[in-house]
Symmetry: D2
Subunit: 282 residues, 4 copies
């Protein structure tokens, strides 16, 4: 049996020693430990994986951890057993490349989540949901229906007990009402190397500016548009010979790979958020 | 003997045929041809290298080219013989990594320019100029002396018949007076992947934003700060574990390589500028 | 209407001039031209795209081209109209990531081919073929049945008038009998940066050697295993912390992107082969 | 005051807990910890940085560490105080780009070593040593004088108490006599992405094979040529249009950056070697 422990707390001496001592005492073998200290903010972050030959009582382990350590060091902490399998909702619009990439990883067993549903404001991608046998909800969004649409979204998210949302080129601004329920649990893909070309039509803006590199950025969604904590970025080279259409085509491969990497990091509990930035564990 | 021909003109049919026909008729063998059509702007760009077994009278070749082709197609054009060796001035401040990189390439014969002088507002890098046996001018710049300093710069540039200027981390804003004399002939290195983090302290801004990629951008200087035509860009990955100081150190390697590549492209006459963008020939 | 012309011939003066003159005379506007001279081998390569406002009689254009130019310069040449849409067969085995990537591009209209069938020595991927509505042939290969299997393959390829074959992690050595019928028209993906780690189990070999970079290589299949002309390569960084399984997972993303890029280059007629190397036009 | 501790030992439970407990008890604050378990080999690796507000008696700390921990866990271990500054010898031949890169970093204070001497089998780079005010030894190597040359090298290395050697394109095979004295302390740069194109003339071999990517590899020197533990690798893209000379020019930038990175990793004690592979700490 394996446990993953995530911690952040005010930095002080003795944290690693105390935590690893506790795990050792519980007969756990630490197979991975990565830590980070944000010296400016004075915050300590740690991710630890531990193997236990004997089955662990998760409740008592957690209780002990809370009493012995969390209080003493004023920790924020999470513990995940290896059988944890989060429920992911996919929000899409008309582009299919990110959706295909995520679903094919899901089908291969590479992406260890459940996908209770795909939601879209258009019907275009319903055939793909059907192809993969996943429930598809069509929730159109217009200026008039926006509020009702959000209520519908929240209702579906609640009903299916969704843990986190992936905006796989959803093309709509997610309302604060939804963000509040899913803080640091909505993952978006933006088609530029943010903070360059935030907002709409980044490929057009990149073409206009004549950059030699384009990129894609996956980030957690916050109320400020395209300004949330960055999880993953990647870039590719372009030249004067590429049209806007070429940029869009080249960018698609970046978008799908960057988004899938970000989702994998989230699922593996390798991300922590602090001060609108991420710590990404190795 | 070898000639390099650069052209841009309004796009129409028959340009390549006419130009290559002219070169063929002058007994030239085309060893390289790259062209680009900006369809939005309706502009045709071409770079052509031609070998001649017999020595060519440059004057009469140029005259013939002008009469037969340039007028007909309304061309902007330049012709460079292979013995052309431009005069480059280096403007520096206190950072030495770009200066060292350029001078070591110069010393190796990799960079085929003359360097009549290095100019700085500080004395810190004078020892490096001395090390490499290059004239060093110290032209301090303060609010009060800025205008006089620019006049001094222009005087030195003129006296030494400088063809183009490289700002190797010069850290000062170049005045429009100087830019006007050297349009598209002042090359700057900016320590971010523009247009992200334009202006001062880009590494601090990158750290604050929590990006996973940092970059460097070399561009021609125009009156609008950090907004000139981009010649070359490159990036490298960073993580939460990197401090601002780490970003600065990692960035130095990018800056020097990107600036040197841009200078090499300029010297090889592989750059053309149009609509505040560059065409970079292969 | 648009034509793409591909040429290679012994290098001599006047080729570009003659070809562009011919196109100009046929009232074509050259919108793209890229050429390359292999100086060692003395061979000239060119790819040219031309737009015609009036419809062109392909037969008479081709005949004229042959008479006026091809004979004179001893050219190998191909001419493709813009409506050309090749027929691609997919050979797969048990891995599905390359297959999913190609089929999702096909479904999006990004990959402009016809796919008459998918062929495999196993039944594992039949559901994906079904998902996408493409004919699936199961042709098992054992030592005993290898020869019969190849005959079956050739029969299917002929029956469906296949233009080129993509081995999307086929995991079987293709017989010379098939290669002879499809010279430079079988595209393979190898999961290493060839020539490093040729042969089987490259990720195991990469792990053993402790490299810091892994790669993938797409190449045309020749009789010598993993030694055909390279079309496309890409790499990603790895570290001591990655297990063999991690390398396999990271490599999958490289494999699918590199293979899809190679297929796109082939379909766009941007590849030429000479001396077991490729010229890849821009 | 700061200490860096490097450990490797047979893997078992409780190592991290014991080591961090010891540091905590010595009033050290752990500011960095990275660890790795090679599961196949059953070996545990750790690098730890600790800050001490009070000055530490290095001798007694070391003694205590040895008695309390090293024996118990059968550790190989090293402890470096922050004022440790190793002595580096540079072996060069005729190429100057790596030498210039290392010396300019040294002069900038970026590379915190002492450089007692530069040694070469040729006189070509003596002027650069003079430029930077570093002792230059000319030790020619011919078939006849090879043995005497090695003795001279060993004498100089001993006399100057050299800690590690950097072969900055030395172009000579280092004898086992020297390697035996400097195991895992001779750093070489090879101009290919090893294991591809091991041996001489890798750019010629890369050109011949038609690869789309070239690279450089820095590794510790072992008796088997180009087969030692890899410290760092990087690559860049090339195309059919690049001549061998172009590859050499592009490769130079890779070589110097990759070698400098490897030297920095070594100096920062971020490398450990096991089973002919490296663990590179973050």
């Amino acid at each position: 049996m394996q446990l993953t422990i995530l911690i952040h707390c005010p930095d002080q001496t003795g944290i690693i020693s105390a935590v690893t001592g506790f795990v050792h005492q519980q007969k756990g073998n630490i197979v991975y430990l990565d830590q980070h200290v944000d010296k400016q903010a004075g915050v300590f972050f740690m991710r630890l994986e531990s193997e236990f030959e004997q089955p662990v009582q998760l409740d008592s382990f957690t209780e002990g951890f809370g009493q012995d350590l969390a209080q003493k060091f004023d920790m924020q902490w999470e513990i995940y057993p290896d059988w944890y399998r989060p429920k992911m909702a996919l929000f899409v619009s008309k582009y299919n490349h990110c959706l295909y990439d995520l679903l094919s990883r899901f089908n291969s067993g590479e992406l260890t989540v459940d996908i209770p549903f795909i939601l879209s404001n258009h019907l275009d991608l319903k055939p793909i949901a059907d192809q993969f046998g996943i429930t598809f909800y069509h929730v159109p969004v217009t200026k008039k229906t926006k509020e009702a649409a959000e209520d519908k979204q929240l209702e579906l998210l609640k009903k299916h007990e969704i843990d986190f949302i992936v905006l796989a080129r959803y093309m709509q601004i997610v309302s604060p009402k939804v963000i509040d329920v899913y803080p640091q649990r909505i993952i978006n893909i933006h088609h530029s190397f943010l903070p360059a070309f935030a907002g709409a039509k980044p490929y057009h803006a990149a073409f206009e500016r004549g950059v030699k590199i384009i990129g894609a950025t996956s980030h957690y969604v916050t109320e400020e548009l395209d300004a949330g904590p960055i999880i993953e970025q990647d870039v590719t080279t372009v030249s004067h010979s590429h049209s806007i259409k070429d940029l869009i085509v080249k960018g698609r491969d970046l978008e799908k790979i960057v988004l899938s990497r970000a989702v994998q990091l989230h699922v593996a509990r390798k991300t922590m958020v602090y001060n609108n930035k991420t710590v990404i564990f190795s």
